[in-house]
């Protein structure tokens, strides 16, 4: 399912992913579908239940409400700040979205650009990193959140996390 990787294996440490998911509050989801049975809709709904504000961005659905949030045509039209841009577009289209995020980074306070599972654009990532943004590629924030909070394990998945520490119980 993933695009042909341009570089080597992508490796992100659990502590890096945890720090990102802990620090961001507002996520602009670019390329979200308003259809409830699409993967992007699943991710938005999940992240909302975890306390994130998710702002949908999709020119085709601009003006519609998706899961209680108004959808905007482009990142620059989103009112207020954005901590993270989550890109649900293919690798080629992701380049332009990343450039828009770079251009808006000071206005909007954007810290992180996250390209979805299966999406990798090394050139765009290099531009964003050079502009001081943190970049994650080929990962899903829903899956990573679930993995790091032991929820993915409920489905029988290999979280790769081994720990003898007692987590703080979270009642969600």
């Amino acid at each position: 399912m993933s695009e042909t990787p341009n570089g080597g294996e992508l490796a992100y440490s659990d502590s890096q992913l945890r720090a990102i998911l802990r620090s961001v509050r507002t996520i602009a989801m670019v390329g979200i579908s308003p259809r409830w049975n699409r993967p992007s809709f699943f991710a938005m709904k999940y992240l909302q239940t975890k306390g994130y504000r998710v702002v949908p961005v999709n020119p085709g659905a601009a003006g519609q409400a998706i899961l209680g949030e108004t959808c905007y045509a482009a990142l620059r039209e989103v009112p207020g700040g954005i901590d993270m841009v989550d890109v649900f577009r293919d690798a080629e289209a992701a380049g332009a979205v990343v450039d828009e995020a770079i251009a808006l980074r000071h206005d909007k306070g954007i810290q992180v650009v996250w390209m979805q599972l299966g999406i990798r654009n090394d050139a765009a990532a290099a531009r964003a990193t050079a502009a001081g943004l943190t970049v994650i590629m080929d990962r899903c924030p829903k899956i990573e959140y679930g993995r790091l909070h032991a929820e993915l394990s409920w489905g029988g998945f290999n979280s790769r996390i081994i720990s003898s520490r007692r987590r703080r119980a979270q009642i969600l």
Binding site: S153, I162, R167
Partner: protein, 445 residues
């Protein structure tokens, strides 16, 4: 060449994962050992939470036919030990096989399987699967040309045992994976007799691994169970064979599993469609017993294999034994593959044949009945040593020809070597062989 960079691997060693994978302390109480969640159902926060669980939009528990927290610990542990993406546990090894094929087989579909499988699998594939209009082509998978020739356009999978029960056959996983993948088939390996301690099928190109956890994983003969582990690396969308994962699923309002869940698709489908509708769920108590067993898997397998090696060498040199089929013996045709695929250890289940004046069938049965320490029963992978005459028991349902190709001809005796004191095992087999021979001589007079 093995697959590089399996992203499911961790920096932790096998023994650490045997004990810890999936089993962090329970956060509410701090309970260190995995609790047995002996309950059927789970309270929803509200209607929206319930809806998002039923729509597969959130992770969580609904009803224990689909998923249970104790079973989930075992699933993650098995996924970790096999370096896979996810696992689905179920009621038995046979249930795991149905669950696996159910994910992608339609009526009229076919697959290729080894003709040297556990007899119960040959019967399941050859008889019961036909009722679903699923068709197995059973071939000698040592003959790679025969495997290639058996693949028809309707074939979707290739199925072998890494170390076959009971014949001691070690499958040549690497070229078999290549043949399967060239034809766009999913390569399924039953790793029951090798266990992930001896063999790592995903390193050799397997896409799915099935287990009867009833055997070495639980290890004490207490608990039935099965599992299918997904590598997460098979491209279900590469051709139109795997509509079960790539076509819209009407029960989930047209959701497409592979597109929505990516490398989580197979395991999600196995729970939320497979277990939901086949209903062959693993009991939480069995998952707990199996987790306890796995905590000592490496220690037990070392001893199982060491005892088996010594018993096999003893029998190979015994005057009343005609032949021994154990890949740990240097003369065995599978010795080389045991070095490559099993780290040089050949497991603890193997067969031998008895010399005798009367027919092998009677001699085989007599040896079995003459044991005092080996238990005469239909299981393998127990702490206790076990003995069986397959032709008169577990392979009874097969034709003579099927029995011979599966390595279970009339004279064959199967052993599953346990963890007892080696000398006691040797003494028991020695007295049983002599007693059987004496009875055979008497019968011949």
């Amino acid at each position: 060449m093995t697959k590089p960079d399996n992203p499911n691997k961790t920096r932790f060693g096998f023994e650490t994962r045997m004990i810890h994978a999936g089993a962090a302390p329970e956060p509410v109480t701090g309970a260190r050992q995995t609790p047995i969640y002996q309950n059927t159902s789970y309270v929803f926060h509200d209607a929206d939470h319930a809806a998002s669980l039923f729509n597969l939009q959130s992770f969580g528990f609904i009803y224990s036919r689909l998923a249970n927290p104790t079973v989930a610990v075992l699933e993650e542990r098995l996924a970790s030990l096999e370096n896979g993406r996810g696992a689905t546990c179920c009621a038995s090894g046979h249930a795991a096989q149905i669950l696996t094929f159910f994910a992608f087989m339609e009526p009229g579909d076919e697959f290729v399987a080894s003709n040297k499988l556990y007899g119960g699998s040959l019967t399941q594939f050859g008889k019961t699967f036909k009722k679903f209009d699923w068709h197995a082509h059973l071939v000698d998978t040592d003959d790679l040309a025969a495997v290639r020739a058996a693949i028809t356009p309707k074939c979707k999978a290739l199925f072998v045992e890494s170390l076959a029960n009971p014949g001691g056959v070690v499958s040549d996983l690497e070229p078999l994976a290549e043949i399967a993948h060239q034809a766009g088939l999913v390569f399924i390996v039953d790793n029951t007799l090798a266990t992930p301690y001896l063999c790592q099928p995903f390193d050799w190109g397997a896409d799915l691994i099935v287990h009867s956890t009833t055997k070495f994983l639980s290890g004490n003969g207490t608990s039935m169970g099965g599992a299918v582990i997904d590598s997460g690396t098979f491209d279900w969308g590469q051709n139109d064979k795997f509509g079960g994962l790539t076509a819209p699923e009407p029960a989930y309002h047209g959701l497409t599993f592979y597109e929505t869940f990516g490398d989580l698709a197979f395991t999600t489908l196995s729970h939320m469609v497979g277990l939901r509708d086949l209903g062959a769920t693993m009991a939480p108590m069995n998952a707990f017993q199996t987790l306890l067993g796995i905590e000592t898997l490496s220690l037990r397998m070392e001893r199982h294999c060491a005892n088996a090696q010594d018993v096999a060498e003893f029998l190979a040199g015994h005057e009343l034994v005609a032949w021994v089929s154990y890949a740990g013996l240097e003369s065995d045709p599978y010795h080389g593959r045991a070095q490559k695929y099993l780290g040089g250890r050949a497991g603890s289940v193997f067969t031998f044949g008895v010399n005798g004046v009367t027919g092998g069938y009677e001699m085989g049965m007599r040896v079995v009945e003459s044991c005092e320490l080996f238990s005469h029963l239909a299981n393998v992978g127990d702490a206790r040593s076990l003995i069986l005459h397959p032709a008169s028991t577990i392979h009874r349902q097969l034709t003579d020809e099927q029995r011979d190709t599966a390595g279970a001809g009339p004279d064959v005796v199967r052993l599953s070597i346990g963890l007892e004191t080696l000398d006691d095992l040797l003494a028991d087999l020695d007295q049983a062989l002599h007693r059987a021979a004496a009875e055979g001589d008497k019968a011949a007079e």
